[in-house]
Structures are given as structure tokens and as C-alpha cells.
């Protein structure tokens, strides 16, 4: 061995060392996502959790939100804000999920290639449109329409529902399409061979077989809706009361943070971080549920 002139074999130790070093650097890159999550949790929680503990359960159940100013101590109750977030999310899902799932089935099963070639990039483009542009569109088109139809300011629960249902479409469509496509061909062929029609096959074979992925897509859509900030901020109206009707203004966890961080200091700022912790908890629960849902996948 030692007599071989080949350079690569001359110093195997050094070469091995550099290969190992490279591997370690790459490993560090790979775990950067984990590191990033820890960093986010540590810094957001270190601001929010002490405040949560000090404020106690009344932070979640109280219905008065009066940030402290130089004259008075604050009253911190985010119950109406939590209700607002859940309300806009559920409504957005109620509109967006049926549309998105139907579109996914259409895309996976029915669409002729020509339409598919337009629809697929359209879904990517919908995912790429910045949320502030959605908010802009909603503020100038949807809000005035609501104002004209129902009176009031127009900035309302309904405006959030409409714009959020559009914004969650790409999430629902792309994941649902994948799961409908992942259904083994034999299922479909078997059903058609038994004399079932196309719609019967879709309804009683494809959708049930793809249901885990479809459910996961809807849950992830909920996460997208509850976490959305800019569009909601522009069209919600942001009044901290439980809305009495769908055309009344509403305020959400995300919008409250975005709106008040601009000028918040001291306890107010920590209260906003505490809202961030609550929002984070919602997202983690939804992510967990989506994982559980997609694990029950049908395999051939």
C-alpha cells in the first residue's frame, strides 16, 4: 500500500478526517431546523409564559382587553380574541374545504390534461400571492360589497371568511390531490369493473380511501387560517368584542399582535407575546392532529 504513488491512497487518514469534518458540518445544517424551532420557542415563551402564569386563567377567560397606559394598569382578557380567531377559522373552513376538496378530486380524476395544465400553476400562484395583496383586494372589493349589502363598516367576520377561504385553497387542494392520487389504482379499477359509475367510484371508493389525507389537508388549512395575519388585519375591523353578527367586526390573535406590537411596551408587550404563546399552542395541536390523521393511510 505504502508504495502506491496514487495520491488519494497516500494519506487516507487526512482524507478521512476531512470527509468526517464535512459530514459533521452537513449534520449541523440538517439540524438547523430543529435548532430554529427551539430558538423560536425559547425566546417567544420566555417573554410570554411568565406573563401567562402571573395573569392566571383569567387571561384566557376574561372578556375585557384594556392594555395598560400611563394612567391605569391593564386588564388582560383575551376570550373574545380567541373566539374571534376560532370563528373566522371555522367559517373559512366551512367555505374553503368543500370547494378545495372538490377541486382536488376534479384535478386528480376528471380534469382533461389541458385544464390540468392551467389549474396546477393556478394553485401554485394562489399559494404565492402575498397575504397583504389578498388583504388589499379584500379591503377594496369584498369590504365595500359587504358594506353595500348589509350596512355597517364592511370590515367584518364575513370579509375574513371570504378572503381566508380563498387563502387556504392551495393548502387543501395540493394535499388532497396528492392523497386522491395515492389511492391504489386497483381500488378504482375494481369499482369501475363492478359496474359502478365514475361518480359512484369517486364517492364511495376514492374519497373514503383518501380520507386520511383529505382530513389532514383540512386541518392544515385550519392552521393556515388561524395563523394568517395581514389579510385578516386589514379586513377584520379589529374590535375586541365577541361579534354579534357575521357582518360585525372581529379581532383575532394574529391581528391583535400585529396591530399592537407597534406601540406596545412593558406589560402590554409581554401580553402580546403571551397571545403568541396561545396561538402557538393552537398551531401545535393542529399540526399534531394533522399528523395523526395522515398516519392512518391506506396502503395497497
Amino acid at each position: 500500500m505504502a508504495t502506491t504513488p496514487d495520491k488519494t491512497l497516500q494519506r487516507p487518514k487526512a482524507r478521512e478526517a476531512s470527509e468526517r469534518l464535512i459530514q459533521i458540518i452537513l449534520l449541523l445544517c440538517a439540524i438547523s431546523s430543529i435548532f430554529a424551532i427551539f430558538l423560536i420557542i425559547i425566546f417567544v415563551f420566555s417573554q410570554g409564559v411568565p406573563f401567562l402564569i402571573e395573569a392566571g386563567p383569567s387571561f384566557l377567560t376574561g372578556s375585557v382587553w384594556l392594555p395598560a397606559d400611563s394612567f391605569a394598569a391593564g386588564v388582560w382578557g383575551i376570550f373574545p380574541i380567541i373566539v374571534g380567531s376560532l370563528l373566522v377559522t371555522v367559517g373559512a373552513i366551512a367555505i374553503g374545504a368543500p370547494l378545495g376538496i372538490a377541486c382536488a378530486v376534479f384535478l386528480a380524476e376528471i380534469a382533461p390534461p389541458a385544464i390540468r395544465r392551467v389549474l396546477i400553476p393556478s394553485v401554485s400562484a394562489l399559494a404565492g400571492v402575498p397575504s397583504v395583496v389578498y388583504g388589499f383586494f379584500a379591503l377594496l372589493v369584498i369590504v365595500p360589497w359587504i358594506r353595500g349589502q348589509f350596512g355597517g363598516f364592511g370590515t367584518s367576520v364575513l370579509a375574513c371568511w371570504i378572503i381566508l377561504s380563498i387563502m387556504i385553497l392551495p393548502t387543501i387542494i395540493s394535499i388532497s390531490t396528492d392523497s386522491v392520487r395515492a389511492v391504489p389504482k386497483e381500488y378504482k379499477e375494481g369499482s369501475l369493473a363492478m359496474g359502478a359509475t365514475r361518480w359512484q367510484t369517486i364517492r364511495s371508493v376514492l374519497i373514503p380511501a383518501a380520507s386520511s389525507g383529505i382530513v389532514a389537508s383540512v386541518i392544515l388549512g385550519m392552521g393556515r387560517a388561524i395563523g394568517e395575519t395581514m389579510a385578516v388585519l386589514l379586513v377584520a375591523g379589529n374590535s375586541v368584542t365577541i361579534p354579534v353578527s357575521v357582518v360585525a367586526p372581529v379581532s383575532t390573535l394574529t391581528a391583535t399582535i400585529a396591530l399592537e406590537m407597534n406601540y406596545a411596551t412593558g406589560a402590554h408587550q409581554q401580553a402580546l407575546f403571551a397571545i403568541g404563546v396561545v396561538l402557538f399552542a393552537f398551531i401545535l395541536v393542529l399540526t399534531g392532529l394533522a399528523n395523526v390523521a395522515s398516519r392512518r393511510r391506506v396502503t395497497a
Binding site: 488519494t8 431546523s33 400562484a125 404565492g128 402575498p130 388583504g135 369517486i202 395563523g227 394574529t254
Partner: protein, 282 residues
């Protein structure tokens, strides 16, 4: 046939859902572009905004700000995501570590931008103030890196996974080391896919507002250093709508953003199609 007749309504609804999705996109884009495109001119793109975003002024400094924060984000996220994808795809099998990292990237991608913004505010703007200059291009860009990372990690990993095993085996069989095989054979083959992932990540950074709102500062002047506060295009739109009350400039800015996002969508879509077809040998 009665069965066929009963099919008509549900089939029509499925068609309707597909067409509606395309129409929604077309309506939103058409509305913004119809109002915004007439405003875009050389003057609009190369003149700085007025103090209160008045009509007749431009958006030059906001374009520069968008490019600057996106550049900082990519500078950090690109090596981390590509390096991470190489590790996941070339150095591990389906191990626990791999599952954990993939899960972590998914969780990271799912964290709402406003929470990432809160983190960026407390960490980069407040805690690292001496280094970042507080609200600044650096703070905004580093915060965005957290959002770009999971996107380009996922796409890079897909791109590496699509590289045929024969290429690696051939290279290793000729006596190349693992790292030599990666740099000379695997990476060049996967490059179009990796670049696609980075472009997608850049698109995310260009369109982000909530995280930028809490970290970039929003000053409209042209930046002179990375420690200056800045106002990217998305934040400018928000500020115009909420403070300046002149929607005209907002239309123009939104149109520029839309064009950038559409270009990114079509480039990545086309590239991914071409790429998967090539690797499938079609």
C-alpha cells in the same frame, strides 16, 4: 340511462370547483393588474417614495429593501437548506434522526409568520441590537431566513432524491470519495431542482409582511447599510392602506409584487415539470 343522469349534478359541481379556483385567481390578479399596471413606469420604479406615499412618487427604495432582506434571508437559508438536504439524502437512511428533522422542518413551515415575527423582534431587534442595529435589513432578513429554510430544504431534498443511484455508484466505483461524488456528480445533476427550491424560498421572502412588520422598521428612505431600517414592498402596501390613505400607489406596488410572484411561479412550475420528466427518462 338514469345512472348517467344522476351523475350530471355532482360532476358539474366538481367541474365548477375546478373552474372556480382558476377564476378566483384570475379575478384577483386581473383586478390588481388592471388598476396597477398603468401606474408602472420607469419613473415609478426608479423614484423614491414620497414622505407619505403620495401619488406621482415611486417605489425605488422599497424594491431595494425587498431585494436586500430577501438576499440576506437566502444568504443564510441557502447553505443551511442545501447542506441539510445533502446530509438527509446522502448520509442517512430512513432513521429516526431523518424523521425528526423532516418533522421539525414541517413544524417550522407551519409556524405562523406573526410568531416568527415576534421571535425576530425579541431576538434580532432587541437581544442582538448591537449587531443588527435594531429594526433593520439584517433583522428582517435573518427573520425571513427561518421561513425560507423549510421550503428550500424540502425541495432540495426532493431534487437530490431524484438523482439516480447509478450515478452515485458509478462515481464511487471509480474511486471518488463520498464528498467528491456529491460535489462532482450528485449536486450538478440536482442543481436545477435545488435552484427551484431557492427561488420558491425567495418568493416566500418577497411576499412576507407580518414578520417584516415587526423586524424591518418601515423607514422609507433608501438604505445605505444593512443596519438601516427599511420598508419592503409588502410593508409599504400595508402602510399606505392603513396610514397614508392613497390606494393608487398601493395598486402599483401590488402589481409589481404580483408580476414578481407570477414569474417565480411559472419558472419553478416549468422547471419542476421539465426536471421530473427528465429524471423519469421521458
Amino acid at each position: 340511462m338514469p345512472a348517467k343522469r344522476r351523475e350530471l349534478l355532482p360532476m358539474a359541481l366538481l367541474w365548477g370547483a375546478g373552474i372556480a379556483t382558476i377564476l378566483i385567481l384570475v379575478i384577483i390578479l386581473a383586478y390588481i393588474l388592471a388598476h396597477g399596471l398603468p401606474l408602472i413606469s420607469w419613473h415609478f420604479l426608479t423614484t423614491n417614495p414620497g414622505v407619505r406615499g403620495q401619488q406621482g412618487t415611486g417605489i425605488y427604495s422599497t424594491i431595494v429593501a425587498t431585494l436586500a432582506v430577501t438576499g440576506v434571508a437566502l444568504l443564510i437559508a441557502a447553505p443551511l437548506s442545501v447542506g441539510g438536504a445533502i446530509y438527509l439524502n446522502e448520509y442517512t437512511r430512513e432513521t429516526l434522526l431523518r424523521k425528526v428533522i423532516r418533522q421539525a422542518a414541517e413544524v417550522l413551515a407551519g409556524i405562523p409568520s406573526i410568531i416568527i415575527g415576534l421571535f425576530g423582534f425579541i431576538f434580532f431587534v432587541i437581544y442582538l441590537l448591537p449587531y443588527t442595529g435594531g429594526w433593520s435589513v439584517i433583522s428582517g432578513g435573518l427573520t425571513l431566513a427561518f421561513m425560507v429554510l423549510p421550503i428550500s430544504l424540502r425541495v432540495s431534498e426532493e431534487a437530490l432524491k431524484a438523482v439516480p443511484a447509478e450515478l452515485r455508484e458509478g462515481s464511487l466505483g471509480l474511486g471518488a470519495t463520498k464528498w467528491q461524488s456529491i460535489t462532482t456528480v450528485v449536486l450538478p445533476t440536482a442543481l436545477p431542482g435545488i435552484v427551484t427550491g431557492l427561488i420558491l424560498g425567495a418568493g416566500r421572502a418577497i411576499g412576507e409582511t407580518a414578520a417584516i412588520l415587526l423586524t424591518a422598521g418601515g423607514a422609507l428612505g433608501l438604505i445605505h447599510s444593512l443596519r438601516d431600517p427599511c420598508c419592503p414592498m409588502t410593508l409599504y402596501i400595508y402602510n399606505i392602506l392603513t396610514e397614508y390613505n392613497d390606494t393608487t400607489t398601493a395598486y402599483g406596488t401590488a402589481a409589481v409584487l404580483i408580476i414578481a410572484i407570477l414569474a417565480i411561479t411559472f419558472i419553478t412550475d416549468w422547471q419542476m415539470n421539465r426536471y421530473t420528466r427528465k429524471l423519469k427518462g421521458l
